[in-house]
Each structure stands twice: as structure tokens, then as C-alpha cells.
Symmetry: C2
Subunit: 425 residues, 2 copies
């Protein structure tokens, strides 16, 4: 039986799980692809540190050329992470005619188009299922199973760290700081958690999901991205009392002729499927004109679930090698989209305000709301320290333009301040 040799760049959590899966599940892969797969070479920064993690017969080196110059190695797997030098590494690999599988969302979200062009030029495959939602096979599903449908919305919980923190804040009444510290202790959050907790990681994933769903290339700079670091325990409790769970959602919708994508805390009704996705789990909902609402749920991170997605790419590349059909883009769908009118981006909002505890404040707020043409369905004064009162409101549907106006108007009022404005699903 023909053998296909693989080169691995990086041997962290995902890399070592990929190595484990290729070794342990080789029979099934052989059964399906008719090829025997094995890792021949691992490229890492510190050989001494990882030498004993690798089975006998596998070369461990710091030199990428050990993969690039080895004609036996057909597929390279990049699991080092980060944009640089991963971008340069993948470029070199593709130019050396190696098919590349990567789990690198930062890189794909920011330079995916460029790398796809390099892959195409070299008639190589470039696949990155693992870059979004770990073990959930969402990208390939959109490509293959919704190919003929017109997707109108893709949304979901696509960051495990923040979902873990929010779940603990909800269940254990922990503050954000405590929940973050616990998440770091358990390895669910990195020592510098910025990318996760500020929503940037989720935004990268929404960029990739939008590309697959709508054929469009969004830019991080054009997206509204809000994280969870300012969510108060009192907001979690108040949302709960209203019948909602706060989740960090990425939402990408067709509006007008365009696509509007953003990441931020959202109040999700407790009987909504997304409200039941807890801890480090991820879920993606895809709505299509024909198929209706679908949901894909699974582990969003972790070595083995992510490795499973890497393996699904390796199997796809192997099939393409066998069939002689490499060099086609992972996602062919390309479409120009127009502009979105922010007057048409409409949601109800959860607003949390501090007001000076003196007569006339609520009247003033109501006047501002009336002036911008907005109204509210629920209002609660939750606490007062004698000087300032905390007031929580759920509005009727209002547009991004109205929300912007509201924020501007409130800035001019020195007796009240807006602490939070979260969408309500």
C-alpha cells in the first residue's frame, strides 16, 4: 500500500494530539483512503524538550528544511499558532509544493485569501477546518452541505474561554476576575487572555465563517467587537431574573445587500438552544433559506477535538492526492456584497445605567429615548447606594443608529452613565 508521509510544525497540545491520532487510528484512515499515513518529521523550537514525546523513527528537528527538502513528505501540518512566523512557514511549505493543513485562525482570518492564492498557484491544498470551533466540523459542512442553499445568518458561541468564564459567573455567582483566574488555573484561559476575553478570537472565527457562508471577506477593523471583561456579576443576575443567559456571541447576518458581523455579549433566552451550551463548548447555528435553522454543537477547543478536525483535513487532502484533484480551494464561494444601512441592523437591547438618585432622572432618560424614537418593555431599578441608582432596561427593537444616538445623548448628561448595552436575542 502507498504511504503518505506527514511533516508536523509545532508539538503543543494540538500537535501532540495530531501525532497521537495519526498513530492510533491509522487502520481506519487506511481503510477509507487506501493510503497508510504516518508522521515522518516534527519541526519544533526546542528539540530536547520534546524529543521523548515522539515515537521512535520520527525525526525531531528545529530545521524547517527537513520537511521542505524531503520529497517523501507530501502534507505539512502547521500547529505552531500565531501570525508570524506561521505565515512565512506556510508560504515556504506551499512554494515547496507541500499540501498544508493548519489550525491557525488568526492567520487564516487575516491572510487567508493571500495564502489560498499561493496554494492555488502551486496546485496545493490548503485546509483549515480546525481554525473555527475546534472539533465542530462547521467549515466543511458549509462548503459541502449548504453549497446550494442561500445562507442568511450564521451565529454562535465560538470561543471556549469566554463561554467557560460566563458559565461560571452564571452558575457560581463569581465575579469576572475570579472566573478568569479559575479559567487560567484550569488551562481554559491563557496567562494573557486579551485575545479571548476581548472578543478578538471570536471575531477572527466570524470572519472565516462569513467567508464560507457568504463568499465575502470581512476585515477585523470594520467589525464591532466587544468582549466580556466589563460584564458585571449584577448584569448576569439581572439577565437571569429576566429569563436570559449572557453569552458572547458572534453574529453575521445578511442585511440589505451586505453582511453585518459583530461580536459582543448577548442576552439569550433560556429556552434557546444557544443558552444550553455551557463551559468550554462551542455551537454554531447556520440559517439557510431552504434548510431553516440548524445547530452544530461540540467541544470548541482541546487537543483531541481540534486534532480530529486537523485529521479530517489530512484525510481530505489524502483523498485528493489519490484522486489527483489537489489544488482546489477549500472554499470556492466568492461573492461581492454591498453596504449595510445601520438603520436596518435592529435588535432589542439590554441597557444598564447609573443614575444620580435624585428626582427627574427617569423623566430625563425617557425624554431622550422618545427623542431618538426608541421605547422600552421592561425597567428595573436594582439598587441604590443613596447617591446613585442602578437602572436596568430592556428596550423594544432599535437600530444601531438609534443606539449610537442614545450613547451620544447620554454622554452629554452628567447625572447618568451607560454601563452596558447588550443585544437581546
Amino acid at each position: 500500500m502507498d504511504k503518505i508521509k506527514i511533516g508536523l510544525v509545532g508539538l503543543g497540545t494540538v500537535g501532540s494530539s495530531v501525532l497521537k491520532m495519526i498513530t492510533e487510528n491509522s487502520d481506519k484512515v487506511q481503510n477509507i483512503t487506501g493510503r497508510s499515513l504516518s508522521v515522518k518529521t516534527v519541526v519544533i523550537r526546542d528539540v530536547a524538550k520534546h524529543q521523548n514525546q515522539v515515537p521512535a523513527g520520527v525525526t525531531v528537528t528545529t530545521d524547517l528544511n527537513a520537511i521542505i527538502n524531503d520529497p517523501e513528505i507530501k502534507i505539512a501540518v502547521e500547529v505552531m499558532g500565531g501570525v508570524h512566523p506561521a505565515k512565512e512557514v506556510i508560504t515556504k511549505l506551499l512554494n515547496a509544493k507541500k499540501h498544508v493543513v493548519t489550525a491557525n485562525k488568526d492567520l487564516i482570518a487575516s491572510a487567508g485569501e493571500e495564502l489560498a492564492a499561493i496554494a492555488k498557484h502551486n496546485h496545493c491544498d490548503l485546509m483549515y477546518e480546525a481554525s473555527v470551533a475546534g472539533g465542530i466540523p462547521i467549515l466543511r459542512t458549509i462548503v459541502t452541505s449548504f453549497a446550494a442553499d442561500y445562507i442568511t445568518e450564521v451565529k454562535g458561541i465560538v470561543n471556549g474561554t469566554t463561554n467557560y468564564i460566563l458559565t461560571q459567573m452564571q452558575r457560581k455567582n463569581w465575579s469576572y476576575d475570579l472566573a478568569l483566574a479559575k479559567a487560567q488555573e484550569l488551562g481554559f484561559a491563557e496567562s494573557d487572555p486579551t485575545n479571548d476575553v476581548e472578543g478578538i478570537d471570536a471575531a477572527y472565527k466570524m470572519i472565516i465563517l462569513s467567508q464560507f457562508s457568504y463568499g465575502t471577506h470581512l476585515k477585523l477593523a470594520n467589525m464591532s467587537v466587544e468582549g466580556i471583561s466589563t460584564i458585571q456579576q449584577s448584569d448576569v443576575q439581572q439577565a437571569d431574573a429576566f429569563g436570559y443567559t449572557i453569552k458572547l456571541l458572534g453574529i453575521s447576518r445578511r442585511i440589505d445587500d451586505g453582511v453585518f458581523a459583530e461580536v459582543g455579549p448577548v442576552l439569550v433566552p433560556k429556552d434557546h438552544p444557544l443558552a444550553t451550551i455551557n463551559n468550554e463548548n462551542n455551537a454554531v447555528m447556520v440559517t439557510g433559506q431552504a434548510v431553516g435553522e440548524t445547530l452544530f454543537y461540540g467541544r470548541g477547543a482541546g487537543g483531541l477535538p481540534t486534532a480530529n478536525s486537523v485529521l479530517s483535513d489530512i484525510v481530505s487532502v489524502t483523498k485528493n492526492i489519490v484522486l489527483g484533484t489537489t489544488g482546489n480551494s477549500f472554499n470556492n464561494y466568492q461573492s461581492k456584497v454591498g453596504k449595510v444601512d445601520l438603520n436596518n441592523v435592529i435588535y432589542p437591547y439590554y441597557l444598564s445605567l447609573n443614575m444620580l438618585d435624585v428626582p427627574g432622572q427617569m423623566l430625563k432618560f425617557t425624554q431622550i429615548m422618545t427623542q431618538i424614537g426608541a421605547s422600552f418593555s421592561r425597567i428595573v431599578q436594582t439598587s441604590t447606594d443613596g447617591q446613585t441608582a442602578r437602572v436596568v432596561i430592556i428596550t423594544h427593537e432599535m437600530s444601531k443608529v438609534q443606539l449610537h444616538d442614545l450613547k451620544q445623548q447620554l454622554l452629554a448628561v452628567d447625572t447618568m452613565s451607560l454601563l452596558a448595552a447588550y443585544k437581546v436575542l
Copy 2:
């Protein structure tokens, strides 16, 4: 641009939705596949009845040869349903070198292997994503995304009719008969609902899911299949009081060296994701050694969702035609499995019994349970009419062998009878 013509056999709910989707979403399909797809010929029994449902330029005929003898038609879609004459139709189409897409679960479950061999012999594609769980793209996901993982269990709600009936029984306290009548009125159940309500439709789908998950060919005759027609409203209420929802689940698990698959009513804890799948929706949970627990949720039936799965197959076949890679099986995974020891098929059970309302009955029952080595965690006497009492029990885990022994022993006791024995998840 090259054109690919399609022949459609059948023009019911799914067929007319396929026609609509191909017509309306042709731009996106063209964008992805580089080919323009259109339906050229529709074969149906009653031309006069359907003539006006079809756009101008599409031939409507009763003669299958209009597809078979047309060299322009590359892909045929069978959506007539039923085993005969669908099997003969598909055989003829494949022997005429047409690629075939079908939504026919009865046929694929009972003759899929045979038809796959005919397809292979003719270097044709045979795909049937729509045969399981309507709009949920579960088969292709198992093939492509879990290819390298070792699947240990696949289970789910794979019949929309029974899930609709059970949802109504739960929410509205309707009897089974009333809920069935309403489902028939609304078109969610057929006038002869046997295949759905007796679990046969779900069993067919579990056979196909097991083939994809484990590479094994199960036979309906070897499966334990129980439907929902004997579920009492009192069971639904009692399950609810215990914190469970009764769902008709198909469960297929690796046990020992084999695969154990069955269909039957199961008590699902209310906080389990499957408990939140209501009405005609379907959901499939796949558990893999690497990926862990994943769930796929969507509409299990209906014209457009099912048509979307048919279209995903058409797009896959089209890509294969473009790449020159037709003739590969939809699912290549083949694996021999061994026997399952029924002593190792273990669940807690919900038991409902009628007992003569005289002293000593509970002692007798407890003696029987002790004799077979089983025990129970909860027991409720729900009602008595003075003569017989209804007793409901949740057992600790017990094996299929113990359950069989219990049923045998109870048959010999004329003062009590077992009304229901449902697994507890």
C-alpha cells in the same frame, strides 16, 4: 460555461422543492461548481396532474427512458420513495451510466450495499444524504469530518412524526390517539402511520447511520424496534414528574467487539440536549473517541430542508464530474464487527406495572427483582381503581438479559403485568 442536465423521478413535496432550489439558487451553484445545472426532464405517473407545476422548457413524461436514453442528462434524482419500483428505477439509471441521488431511506437501508455495487460497477456516483434526518447533513459529516476518529456511539431523534406526537403529548396532555390525529391533520403523519409510529422508519435511519459510523451492515430483523403507539399519557406525566421527557431514540453503540442498535422510547433528562428537540425537528449525537460528544440539529423532514440535502449531493456529484472523480462510494468505510454480549448492554429502566391491589404484591415484585440481581432507585404507586394499582419504577442499571428474565418471570405471575419498560438515558 458547461451545462449539466438533471432528470427528476418523482414530483412530490421533495421533488418539487428540488426543482425550485435548482432553479432559484443556480447562481451560487454555478459560482461553486463552475457548471450550470438545470432540470431537463421530470418523470411522473400522472402528467396531467403535475404539468403546470413545472417551468417552461422542462419535459414532463411517464417514460423513464426519456432520462435513460438522453445523453445530455448526467444526474438522475430519485424522489418517488418506497422500495419498489424505486430499486428497479435506480438500477436502470445506474446501468445507463447516470449518477443517482436519492432521498429513499427504506431502499438504502434494505438494498444500499447492492445498489452501491451496481454504481461502482458503472463508475457512477450514488449519494443519499437526504435519506437520514432531512436537512441535517449528517452522513457527509460522518464521512468527511469523523473519518479519522473512532466513533463509539451514534444516537438521536431521527423521526419527525413521532417527535411531533410526543411533543404534543408532553405539552398539551393529549393522548397518543389525539396527538396522532392532529399530526395527520397537519400533514406531519401519513394516513397509514405504521412505519413512523412503530419505529421502523427510525430503524432504517439507524441502519444507515451505523453503516457510516462503524462500517457495518445491520439488518432490521436483528434490531430491537419499539414504537410509540403504546405510550400512555400517564407515562408521559410520570416521566415528567421524575424530571424526564420521553423521546423515541435510535441508539447504536459499540459494545464488546460489536455494534448494538435499537429503537424505542427513552426517558431523556430534561437538561440533556436531546430533551430540547421538539416538534418535527431531528437531532443526531455522534460521540467519537477524539472529538467527544457532538450534536447536529435541524429540520428532519419537509420539502425544502430535504431538498437542500439532495442539492448537496447534486453539487458533490457535479464536482466529481468536473474533477473526473466519479464512481467512488459515498461511504468507503467497511469493517467487520463481532458479537455483542447482551449482558453488557446496560441501562437503567423505567418500568410501569399493573398490580392487583392486595397485600404482598410489592414483596413479590421485589423478590423477583432480587432474584434476577436487579434493584431500583425510585418507586411510585400512581393510582388505584380499588382493584388494580399502577406502580412506576426507575431501576438501577440492568442488562438486557436481566430485563428479559424480569419479563419472563412477570409473565408467570397473574397478579401483575408489565405495561412498559423504557430505557433511561
